[in-house]
């Protein structure tokens, strides 16, 4: 499976499964990135998303991390793009909790 994966400024990654993109009719991620994203880092190359800047430039902040690519891909595309934004300190906190947060409970 071919993928495009790159690191972003805040400490996370964006992973795009390009095989899914080939059959995507909307290319919603590229469209929204060039509409909303001030960084405008995605373009179409050979029918799939590709980066305009270098990986290093993206990591240094060319990607504005507006998350529009992921949300629009989910709604209008082929659910091929995932933005991973780890927060290990929060995971540690949650592991040590004796009471579950309300989002994990039934009201």
């Amino acid at each position: 499976m071919s993928t495009l994966e790159f690191e972003i400024r805040s400490g996370g990654t964006i992973r795009i499964e390009l095989d899914k993109c080939r059959s995507c009719e909307t290319k919603a991620c590229v469209k929204i990135c060039n509409t909303t994203g001030m960084g405008q880092i995605l373009e179409l190359k050979d029918g799939v998303p590709a980066l305009k800047p270098t990986l290093e430039e993206v990591k240094r902040g060319a990607c504005t991390e507006d998350l529009a690519c992921e949300l629009d891909c989910e709604l209008y595309g082929n659910k091929a793009l995932v933005v991973s934004l780890p927060l290990p300190e929060l995971d540690e906190y949650l592991e040590g909790l004796s009471e579950k947060p309300t989002y994990a409970r039934e009201a």
Binding site: T36, T64, E65, L67, L71, L87, L90, G96, T102, Y103
Partner: protein
């Protein structure tokens, strides 16, 4: 502001040649006994918490033998000092004190320069001395470009004629070393209270070192966690988690503090604990002012402004929603140029991840008010993703005042409570 525990502050003092009592940090009676066997009795047993006023709070005990040491350690480790649990103790050789002084170097924002503060009446009552006997406290502004020299310290110390002139030289030397600590570690405050005068010379019996938050990035040797200033207590785990959000990315900022970390204040006041986020600290305070009289208590403060990237909103929303006590969530933006569609996307991604079975529709009452740039897009995004259609969500626009946001939340909470019974 990052405040060092006493034993860590003393380690910095030692590096700069300031005498401190021999001692070590411990976490159990067994460790304490082992340290005391090395040092010899009597020893001081000191709770290591960030709160000040430990002497008066019973956080410092003395032990003459192994039995009294074991008892003191057990007593202190079971204690909370100003709400903070005691996890570490400092076991030190008890100093034979003849006189207690107060010496400090701190930042004076009104003068925009450091100031040295000295009093020959140091000890636990120093605040009272400052209030009631201002003439016993002496200050000297320091020109940061010039520095603070031995003779500057002498000039300051000489202003109190009660100080023995033979001891003045050693104290002046120590004072210049304290200034070196202040400068080299980017302190807001480097304080010794008391500075004990003993037969062997001056000894820093206590240490308070507060590091400027904005300098933490270059104070890498201190290995400090970055979190918002939260008064006398140490940062909570959630505050530390939130503190990492801005660590690598300065596009916008997140300021998160748990006002009531365990929800106990809200409970004692009979208020409903809620999670809270605002764009703009002023909006945050005015919205709180509207929520509290209606019976709701935001157990955290959060200001996510300066046009943060969506990923920051995603992370902080997860932090806020992870407070187990909350029975609601309120987000209000001030009218600003912040690109609110990015803000909305961060919250939407977080909601979708936290509530996967409902596609992001939360199970607690949530009111979100978007006012400002791209607010219409923000509101539309909640509709597109089906979150606005949730039973317990209200997404409001720029015609909503803070009081209306609070009233909408109040009505929604009552409906939710009556229908679900709450948690």
């Amino acid at each position: 502001m990052a405040r060092l525990l006493e034993y860590r502050g003393k380690a910095l003092f030692r590096r700069k040649g300031i005498p401190v009592p021999d001692g070590r940090a411990v976490q159990s009676a067994e460790e304490a006994l082992s340290v005391a066997d090395e040092l010899g009795f009597p020893v001081a047993v000191k709770a290591q918490v960030h709160a000040g006023g430990r002497g008066k709070a019973g956080a410092i005990l003395f032990a003459e033998d192994r039995d009294s040491l074991t008892q003191a350690v057990r007593e202190l480790l079971a204690k909370r000092i100003h709400g903070a649990p005691v996890r570490e103790l400092l076991i030190e050789k008890k100093a034979d004190i003849e006189q207690e002084l107060y010496v400090a170097v701190t930042a004076d924002p009104s003068m925009r320069q450091p100031v040295a503060i000295f009093s020959a009446k140091g000890g636990v009552e120093v605040e009272q001395t400052a209030d009631e006997e201002a003439s016993a406290v002496f200050t000297m502004p320091i020109d940061i470009m010039r520095g603070f020299y031995y003779y500057d310290a002498l000039n300051l110390l000489r202003r109190d004629w009660q100080l023995d002139s033979r001891r003045m030289f050693a104290v002046a030397n120590l004072y210049t070393n304290l200034y070196r600590v202040y400068r080299e570690y980017d302190c807001k405050l480097a304080e010794i209270n008391p500075l004990a005068l003993t037969a062997d010379g001056p000894v820093a019996v206590d240490a308070r070192v507060d590091i400027d938050d904005d300098a933490l990035a270059r104070q890498t040797t201190l290995d400090l966690e970055v979190a918002e200033e939260a008064g006398e207590r140490a940062a909570t785990a959630l505050e530390v988690a939130a503190g990492t959000i801005d660590e690598n990315d300065h596009r916008g900022s997140i300021h998160f503090v748990q006002i009531d970390p365990d929800g106990s204040y809200a409970q004692a006041e009979g208020k409903v604990p809620i999670g809270f986020d605002c764009v703009g600290a002023g909006t945050s305070l005015t919205t709180m002012d509207e929520l509290v009289p209606l019976g709701y208590y935001p157990i955290n403060f959060c200001d996510s402004s300066g046009n943060p990237v969506g990923s920051k909103l995603y992370r902080i929303t997860k932090v806020i929603m992870s407070q187990p006590q909350i029975e609601g969530y309120v987000f209000v933006s001030c009218v600003s140029s912040q690109q609110l569609d990015n803000t909305a996307r961060g919250i939407i991604k977080a909601f979708k991840e936290l509530y996967p079975s409902t596609g992001g529709q939360p199970n607690i009452p949530c009111v979100l008010v978007f006012r400002g740039a791209w607010d219409d897009v923000a509101i539309d995004l909640f509709k597109q993703h089906g979150i606005s259609a949730g039973r317990w969500v209200r997404v409001l626009g720029r015609d909503t005042a803070e009081i209306e946001a609070a009233e909408v939340f109040d009505a929604l909470y009552k409906e939710w409570k009556s229908e679900t019974g709450g948690f």
